[in-house]
């Protein structure tokens, strides 16, 4: 575990001038937990100190249970807590060893970064430009196999300037893109090999965007295998994960279906008295309304229209989304589903015949001409308006699932705006990470007329459907 985030956080926490009271130790431990993403409030810290006063401090199990009960408030947090506890509450010798290893590692990384910087500077030197790469990118370069480093340097040397391009800028862009690719690739390989990536946590770069990714990946590795899938980008799910993914989607959809399928719901809002039934009931009391009768609140089944992008960039996501819709079963009610890329096709009937999912998907794919093509949302919406306009009413929630990479976004946005005005709500589930939205002008244009949500994991997919299909009574 010496390479992991917890070790780094523990080692980096310092010793607060050598104070070794229970309160100081708890405070330091809480600071570490917070660094690792566990939300611990001041009140919980006080609770933890109080809890320690009630247990046998010489019993490690008691101390662990007491702190865990007060500081870790979910299964995921408990997993982080366990690692942190094992490393923090240890002998002074072991702690000193951790600090020493941390210091050595930092020195080694510093040397590697300096060497990488020199190497890169030499490669781009003739463009007379400073390296505008982050520390993390430098570290990535230092970790590359020699062959890959040579190839990258070779590419940089062969870049030729012309009258149009700013060559220095171009070289810088190539370098950054390449290093970002390699960083992602190396992390992915680690994941594939089942290695613990949590060590990346402490290697934060200070660059908000990179840190967000690093924290996200690292956090995923603290989670239960099911949660890891639940919170992982659908694009990154491997073939080996598919059985687990299928079962998980089935469970999520069934849970949502159960909650959507209830016919009546008690409401916290004031209930309406059913005058007719109340009068009839109270005739026996001479008309004195002793027993009130209330109107049962019939719950409307949610009605939604799903328009799912199945173009080349979306094929993988689409499979999971459609599987989720398939899993809704009776929760579908009168809802409609469509797939689109260059044009739009109706798929509702495929999901209604209670066939097994594999067969259903085979039929959807074979019966459609849209899979894997380019995206033209505008044409697709025109088809929708022409043929299926009546599917959208004031009670309908429209879900569009797409990464927003479409031609003619302005025209599509106009049609979406019109659709949004005719519906209960128009929700765009964007399968690309939010941080990438700004890079896609179409997303900016479409985002101005729809309620756009990041939806690249199963957890978000379920949350979006649950939130937007909340019943109306």
């Amino acid at each position: 575990m010496e390479e992991d985030a917890v070790a780094r956080a523990v080692a980096g926490a310092g010793d607060d001038g050598g104070l070794e009271t229970i309160e100081h130790n708890v405070a330091r431990f809480v600071r570490i937990l917070r660094r690792l993403g566990v939300r611990v409030s001041g009140a919980e810290t006080v609770d933890a100190v109080c809890a320690l006063s009630r247990v046998n401090l010489l019993d490690r199990g008691h101390v662990r249970a007491a702190l865990s009960a007060c500081l870790a408030k979910s299964r995921q947090e408990a997993a982080v807590f366990e690692q942190a506890f094992a490393l923090f509450f240890t002998t002074p010798e072991a702690k000193a060893g951790q600090r020493e290893r941390y210091r050595e590692r930092e020195e080694r990384n510093g040397r590697l970064r300096d060497a990488a910087q020199g190497e890169l500077r030499e490669a781009v030197g003739r463009w007379g430009r400073d390296l505008s790469v982050t520390g993390e990118q430098l570290r990535t370069f230092a970790m590359l196999p020699q062959q890959a480093r040579d190839r990258l340097k070779d590419v940089l040397r062969r870049v030729k300037a012309n009258g149009v391009n700013d060559a220095g800028h171009l070289v810088s862009m190539i370098l950054q893109s390449s290093l970002n690719y390699w960083r992602y690739h190396m992390m992915k390989n680690k994941v594939d090999r089942g290695e613990d990536l949590s060590g990346i946590e402490a290697e934060l770069t200070g660059d908000a965007e990179s840190d967000e990714v690093i924290r996200g990946v690292a956090a995923a590795f603290y989670r239960h295998p099911e949660d890891r899938i639940l919170h992982r980008d659908l694009e990154g799910l491997e073939e080996a994960d598919l059985p687990r993914v299928t079962a998980l989607i089935g469970r999520l959809a069934a849970r949502l279906d159960l909650s959507l399928g209830r016919r009546y719901q008690r409401s916290s809002r004031a209930q309406a008295v059913d005058i007719r039934r109340t009068v009839r009931r109270n005739i026996q009391y001479g008309g004195l309304p002793l027993e009130l009768r209330y109107r049962a609140r019939r719950r409307k089944k949610p009605h939604f229209v799903l328009i799912c992008d199945v173009s080349a960039s979306m094929a993988r996501h689409a499979r999971f989304v459609l599987q989720f819709i398939y899993g809704l079963g009776s929760g579908l009610g009168n809802s409609e589903s469509f797939v689109f890329s260059e044009d739009l096709e109706r798929t509702t009937d495929y999901f209604r015949h209670h066939r097994d999912f594999a067969r259903c998907m085979t039929e959807v794919v074979n019966g459609s001409r849209q899979w894997g093509k380019t995206t033209n949302l505008y044409e697709s919406l025109r088809t929708f308006r022409r043929l299926y306009r009546d599917a959208v009413t004031r009670d309908t929630v429209v879900f569009v699932v797409s990464d927003g990479k479409t031609v003619a976004p302005e025209a599509a946005a106009a049609l979406l705006g019109e659709m949004g005005r005719r519906s209960r709500g128009l929700v765009w589930l964007n399968t690309s990470p939010r941080r990438e939205w700004d890079k896609n002008p179409a997303v900016r244009i479409l985002g101005a007329v729809v309620d756009m949500h990041e939806c690249n994991t199963l957890a978000r997919l379920e949350e979006c459907f649950r939130r937007h299909l909340a019943p109306r009574v």
Partner: protein, 313 residues
């Protein structure tokens, strides 16, 4: 009972709740710090049972608030007894006492105490079980804050009612939705996972002693294999493995065989697709392999049955 961690653990085990020391420490802290205990875990792992067992251990009444979507204060806290109030109005009208009527109508006499208020007003310490708190709406969850931190509630017509004895509060959640930080912050937290094989054997031996050591171990191993190796829509809970054990005992099975498994699988697997998946031959063989069953039949738990021809299990 002199409350210590060891004594609590022992008392809980005596009341039929198999628990390890860590769980006992957490419950002990909730009791001594007088904080609500929030128990999370999959359905059927024994969350609700903790409250019931605590009731027996402490000799306290268990007051249960079963949560559901749309639960409101009227159902959880109190309601005015409208019918009695109406009758009172009629009686006072006939007796000509309209002037005093208003102050009398909102007396405690006309208050219908619901579980939360019952727990607060109880003359003895009680165990308040707020079951499946993840089912309630968020506004109701926020309403619980005051109760759980101050152990008091406000009734506009009567004022603030404070707890005579701070109740032992146990909240359970199946994790249907994430609870708010505010609620979690006020609680001592306990996550109960599915038990390992040894713990499940202990539970089976305690709850279904007639199953015997061998069958209990096979059941525990089979259920553990199913939970950890198979991707099912619904994993079998402890409650279901207990039912399964009872069914096997009722069928005079002393060991897990393909036949006895097939005949009793309905008690363990509550989903058609899961049922089909588990009973497929390679999967079933894998489960039986994990239990160390060789498919042989011995003497059943009652000692009088031995399968022969035409007496299959």
């Amino acid at each position: 009972m002199d409350l210590t961690i060891a004594a609590l653990q022992e008392a809980m085990e005596r009341e039929g709740y198999v628990c390890e020391e860590e769980l006992a420490v957490t419950v002990y802290l909730a009791l001594t710090l007088q904080k609500p205990l929030l128990v999370e875990g999959a359905p059927g792992v024994g969350k609700t049972e903790i409250a019931k067992v605590l009731g027996r251990v402490l000799g306290a009444e268990v007051i249960r608030l079963q949560c559901y979507e749309g639960l409101d204060e009227n159902k959880a806290l109190y309601e005015w007894n409208y019918q009695r109030q109406l009758l009172k109005i009629q009686i006072m009208k006939d007796a000509g006492g309209e002037r005093d009527i208003e102050k009398d109508l909102f007396d405690e006499e006309y208050l219908l105490a619901r579980p939360l208020l019952k727990a607060i007003r109880s003359r003895e310490r009680v165990v308040l079980l707020i079951d499946e708190v993840d089912k309630v709406d968020e506004p109701f969850e926020a309403f619980l804050f005051e109760l759980l931190s101050e152990f008091q509630v406000s009734i506009p017509e009567l004022g603030t009612v404070s707890a005579r004895h701070v109740p032992v509060v146990v909240l359970t959640s199946n994790g249907d939705r994430e609870l708010s930080d505010g609620l979690k912050r006020r609680c001592i937290y306990l996550y109960i996972d599915y038990p390992d094989i040894d713990k499940e054997v202990r539970i089976l031996r305690m709850k279904v002693p007639e199953a015997g050591e061998r069958l209990s171990r096979q059941i525990a191993a089979a259920v553990h294999h199913i939970r950890t190796r198979l991707e099912l829509r619904k994993q079998p809970s402890i409650a279901e493995s207990l039912d399964w054990a009872r069914a096997l005992v009722a069928l005079h099975a002393d060991a897990l065989t393909a036949d006895s498994f097939t005949r009793t699988a309905n008690l363990l697997l509550k989903n058609r697709a899961d049922h089909r998946q588990v009973l497929e031959r390679p999967t079933l063989d894998g489960i039986l392999g994990a239990t160390g069953t060789e498919g042989e039949a011995g003497v059943c738990a009652c000692g009088h049955h031995r399968p022969g021809r035409g007496d299959s299990w």
